[in-house]
């Protein structure tokens, strides 16, 4: 029988929830890295026992951890006490240094700060780790201040894909409320050279050559909070989701607006339809139905909680525009939690499971594609991220 492993990052550590394929009884292990913020952890599709985790704190900065046994034990790659033959201490795994070389790091512009002034890039933390689809040693990291890094040696060493910042629009990028973060990385199984990323608040970008060159893909997005609402960059994209069978079709939860593109991001159109509010953070796609998508509407950008105190997942079976509220098992009064951008995931069992975590510490699961929900753990620290591994 299949097994499920739910990887939960929280403000005070990581937790791993496991169940058999019935998804009724869950074991909780953790906290791993207790006391540290774990913005994200994710398993390798090529080797599910290889899991990467981003551990950070305001005090002590960034640490990258990895597990090779499904999360039972962890190591900071290269963080041991041995030294290299040259006597140089190892421990490079936490080193994220922006590329300033003349050959590849030509950009090195400044970015816009909240007050409109220009500021240099300063590394703060890793928001998102995206393991390669076919090589467990290769993993991408989306960081704040926004940039994309890649490791090809199991997270020992990291190198910036500097062409992204080299695109030249950096001076117009600005931080969202959470900082200027690269939070979404979507890999295309059918086209290994294609990667989508999203930055708050710069927008979505795409490469078709494995990360050497990038272009913004924000046509059709409209954002009232920037002087030119149709600007090429400056949009606060919160999340992008894709079904692997249809890599040209993208769904986006923007700051406001739920959007869809049918041409790899070249042009977007709004599919918010009958949602009670189109502000939110998460968006995801059913594992087997590419036109079935999920969002969790949040009241507004100043009131980060569900409208009317009712926690509702909205599902569209038509690729957007027509939405139905899913409420069975979810609190329908006095609920004022938030669901952050990396905190929703789906499993790939025949009956697709959907999972999300809240800032109130609950992780809810649906074993019937959203029709009904149960909390599979309910008193964790505020949840920052949720990922699911379907193990056979």
């Amino acid at each position: 029988m299949s097994k499920l492993r739910v990887l939960v990052g929280t403000r005070k550590g990581a937790f791993i929830l496991t169940s058999d394929g019935r998804r009724e009884n869950w074991d909780v292990s953790g906290p791993h890295f207790a006391g540290w913020e774990v913005y994200h952890l994710k398993g390798s599709p090529a080797d599910p026992n290889r899991i990467y985790a981003s551990q950070s704190s305001s005090w002590s900065g960034q640490v990258i951890q990895r597990s090779s046994d499904g999360g039972k034990t962890w190591e900071a790659p290269g963080g041991g006490v041995t030294t290299s033959p040259e006597g140089f201490p190892r421990g490079e795994s936490n080193r994220f240094v922006y590329d300033t070389s003349a050959e590849t790091g030509k950009p090195l512009t400044t970015h816009q700060f909240y007050d409109g002034t220009q500021q240099p890039w300063v590394f703060k933390r890793v928001w998102h780790l995206e393991p390669s689809l076919n090589d467990p040693e290769t993993v991408y990291a989306g960081v704040e201040d926004a940039a994309l890094f890649r490791s090809t040696d199991g997270a020992h060493s990291w190198h910036e894909l500097a062409g992204l910042r080299g695109h030249g629009t950096g001076p117009k990028w600005q931080p969202g409320a959470g900082g200027m973060c690269l939070h979404t990385i979507v890999l295309d199984e059918k086209n290994p050279g294609r990667i989508y990323i999203a930055i708050s608040a710069a927008g979505a970008f795409r490469t078709d050559d494995g990360g050497k060159t990038w272009r913004p893909i924000n046509r059709g997005l409209k954002s009232q909070y920037i002087p030119d609402p149709d600007a090429e960059v400056g949009h606060c994209v919160h999340r992008i989701a894709m079904h692997r069978s249809r890599p040209d079709v993208l769904f986006m939860q923007k700051h406001w607006d739920v959007m869809r593109s049918d041409n790899g991001g070249d042009l977007w159109h709004e599919v918010s339809g009958n949602l009670p509010t189109d502000f939110g953070f998460v968006i995801d796609v059913h594992a087997h139905e590419p036109e079935t998508i999920y969002v969790i509407p949040i009241k507004s950008d100043s009131e980060h909680f569900p409208p009317e105190g009712k926690l509702r997942v909205y599902r569209s079976r038509t690729g957007g525009n027509e939405w139905e509220p899913l409420t069975k098992g979810l609190p329908q009064r006095d609920c004022y939690v938030n669901v952050l951008r990396d905190a929703m995931a789906v499993d790939s069992l025949d009956k697709c499971g959907v999972y999300f975590g809240t800032t109130g510490g609950q992780v809810y699961a649906s074993a019937d594609a959203g029709d009904s929900w149960v909390p599979i753990v309910r008193d964790l620290p505020p949840v920052l991220s949720v990922e699911v591994q379907t193990l056979t």
């Binding site: 403000r11 006391g35 704190s57 041991g80 006490v81 030294t83 201490p89």
Partner: protein, 101 residues
Amino acid sequence: MIRVIIPAHLRTLAHVEGEVKLEIEGQATQRSVLDALEARYPVLRGTIRDQVTKERRPFLRFFACAEDWSLEPPDAPLPDAVTTGAEPFLIIGAIAGGQDR
């Protein structure tokens, strides 16, 4: 022998318990102590000082002999009591830090 006390989270990260004891060649300074600490425990690189600039992270402070050394030059000699191991060199997390997501 220099005794160094590091914050609890970093002790966990480096898999050490209690104080760290370091032998320093030459003059003991903040820089030489931190260089030795990071050489022994490479996983601590970047957690106390910036990986590139080597500047102290903003929410960590350094104390020696009940004095705040956080703003002292990194190459200033540490007090004799620290150099001889009579007093520890303390790395302390500020009562601060915040949620910024």
